[in-house]
Symmetry: C2
Subunit: 300 residues, 2 copies
């Protein structure tokens, strides 16, 4: 025989009112049904919990003890379920975001800041990793969501496209290209270049563009970090291409940049989640947040 939560509720109603019929009304139950429940509970306990006299009901010693225990039990239960409801509704929880380097510097912090305003009790964690690694974190379940260039044909991923991240040419303000209205691939060909190393998705995009337009650039420098790249450019040693998002939240004094006028000189940034794993309740509101922010990003 097992004691159910309903029985505990019913017991508490009877204990509070000291009346079977009133408790039945409170529990939206017929009086005999409530009586039967109390009886079953007493059988489970192995002791009477109430003394029934004709005109009044009173608690036995065991009943009084059970009243304390049951009150605590019901309270714990309610607290626990309320807490769970917070997690389900997305009021509380933990959200792990992975962001590709370009996103980690600009979009991700803003998205997280906006999200945190609406969800002050949520712990948000940010991992900044190269695109492939970020997506890997989502695949492995370490991260709930990656902000990263979308991955072509990946059935195990759900990808929400956010905005197009155009390539820009970055050069010193004194550089000849800085004063041009538009910059095309063939315009940049003559100049010494800096590129990031192979592992970066930016490098892959730039290489693809080179190939597409049959442009052979002069890679004078191959660096690991964007900071180095910008330093070289600021020192007038070379020019380089970067996604626009990289430039957004960076100090650009001493640098000029121009969008590259090519119909394919961009990559699509997406919010990437696992399609096999069932989503955290926090993902949906965070996605909305990303979309709102993306429209603002696109306008600029």
């Amino acid at each position: 025989m097992n004691v159910s939560l309903r029985q505990v509720e019913i017991f508490l109603a009877v204990a509070r009112t000291l009346s079977f019929s009133q408790a039945a009304r409170d529990c939206h139950l017929s009086q005999p049904a409530l009586s039967a429940n109390v009886k079953r509970l007493e059988e489970s306990m192995g002791a009477r919990l109430f003394d029934r006299h004709t005109r009044k009901v009173s608690m036995t010693a065991v009943g009084q003890e059970f009243f304390k225990v049951a009150s605590a039990m019901a309270e714990n239960m309610d607290m626990a379920l309320a807490r769970m409801q917070d997690f389900v509704s997305g009021k509380r929880g933990r959200l792990v975001i992975a962001a590709a380097p370009s996103m980690a510097a600009s979009f991700a912090p803003q998205a997280i800041a906006e999200f945190a305003r609406d969800h002050p009790e949520v712990d948000v964690e940010l991992h900044d990793e190269l695109s492939d690694l970020s997506v890997g974190l989502v695949r492995s379940g370490v991260a709930d969501l990656a902000l990263s260039p979308v991955v072509p044909k990946a059935a195990d991923l759900r990808q929400l496209e956010l905005f197009r991240d155009h390539l820009v040419l970055v050069c010193h303000p004194s550089h000849p290209l800085a004063s041009r209205a538009t910059v095309r691939w063939r315009d940049v060909q003559p100049y010494a270049h800096v590129v990031v190393n192979q592992s970066s998705s930016v490098r892959q995009l730039v290489d693809a563009q080179y190939a597409r337009y049959g442009v052979r650039l002069r890679p004078a420098f191959e660096v690991a970090h964007v900071g180095t790249m910008l330093g070289l450019i600021a020192a007038k040693l070379c020019v380089g291409e970067l996604p626009e998002s990289f430039i957004r939240n960076i100090d650009t004094t001493g640098l000029s940049y121009r969008r590259i006028a090519s119909s394919a000189a961009y990559r699509t940034i997406g919010a990437i989640t696992s399609s096999s794993r069932s989503p955290s309740p926090l993902i949906a509101p965070f996605l909305e947040c990303c979309q709102r922010l993306a429209t603002r990003f696109a306008r600029n």
Copy 2:
């Protein structure tokens, strides 16, 4: 929709084994039945708790949170029910004993001491009141049990007879009656007497005996307390009658006593409980304790 304890148990089994089929075996349930329970629980929660892949089951973020909550919940529940079991079985609890003065001095402390050895975690409370008051405490529910002379024809009381408490004549060792083998009512007639006042049941018994044997005694003193009575006797001012139980645990140096040889010079002491109120689980073992002790009392 309400979440049941069974569902919590089932959830925990799945969470521990991360296998629906193994959990079903653990819960003595068919696997589809268990599956349905998890499904209902998830619907109650409003969120998936497990991700089912073909070869392995894993917990969602919400599931992991629920695991903590549910573990605590189950543990609390088990603790609470175990505690209740202690109260029902009589391992823990509180027992309120009322004892008539004669019992409060001798029988009751011994009974409580013996009971406390077997039930170290039980709180025992002792009220020493005149017989009628003691029985009143039982009737009103303040006391669980009274050790007192039995009450004739009281349907609302359950009375377990324990032993016969004989009247003894108490006198100074130098008194003529102290050297007699047997003492009868007519033997005590010539001497000055001390009696307790009307409210005591001892007085009522003595009066009844006087009446029965047509003896007119000389009540030289009427006192409230037995101590006073014994003091007067020790001072050779008078003799008096008392129930034997009074003498048992009292310093009797300077006093002699003899049972009064009369077939009705006793009262029956009983353990008195309420028959309307359902008995505390502690009453039965305490009654056994009283009966064991009563046989020892009767032998002396």
